[in-house]
Amino acid sequence: MLSKKEKQLIREIWERLTPVAEDIGADALLRMFASYPGTKTYFSHLDIGPGSAHLSSHGKKIVLAIAEGAKDISQLTVTLAPLQTLHAYQLRIDPTNFKLLSYCLLVTLACYMGEGFTPEAHAAIDKFLSAFSAVLAEKYR
């Protein structure tokens, strides 16, 4: 359950990340591929090497989608409806991977924000990413 204060904090953080969405997204994906090599299987059709255009553009897409969800967390189901369909019926990514990417996003944010990634920010973002992942997986079954 997110408090008003946490929702505000989440909005502020993701607003600050939007201008650097490519860097943040690419970094999180690279962390996921390095720590959890099995996740690369979903990207065999793309060049996901460091610095690749595919990695940057896909990373940017992910971060901007999360930032959009952060603007009004109470409307996540509406905001994510097209992505729900995409993931459930086309991409068919096992939802256990959402947790792995969420964790890697947390590490990316910790590296990017340093001491600014306080335990309160960590808790709020972790809760938000859990909710985001759960909504994303809603149409799977």
Partner: protein, 145 residues
Amino acid sequence: MVKWTEEERCTIREVWEKVDVDEIGPQILTRVHIVYPWRETYFGTFGDIFTNTSILNNPKVAHHGKVVLRSIDKAVRIMDRIQETHAALSRLHYECVDPDNFKLLGDCITISIACKLKEALNPQVQAVWQKFLCAVVEAMNSQNK
């Protein structure tokens, strides 16, 4: 037993050299209590850990964080015998602590270190560091099998 390349050993030691146990130790357990508040159940003797402010100012939380990192220090020094060096700790926690907690503690350790090291904890370094923490978590769970 986990096998380490020379490069992995160097990477883990280089990460660890940058960690000040007295500085980071209190931070990791503070992070655990704030991010996963239901873990309070294991720390009934720690006094007031029910608000973020009380957690941040609780000396027992700070002290236990340092204790945890000193055990990590042992694992860094004796990387080839982590199971052996952590057997007693595993027995101590056996049937008292849900083993899933060790993984969450490991995640908070990585994130606290990431806040300190920033870009120095790059994706490749993170992967090696996590391999090391997985070995420690497995050692802590060894008595549960």
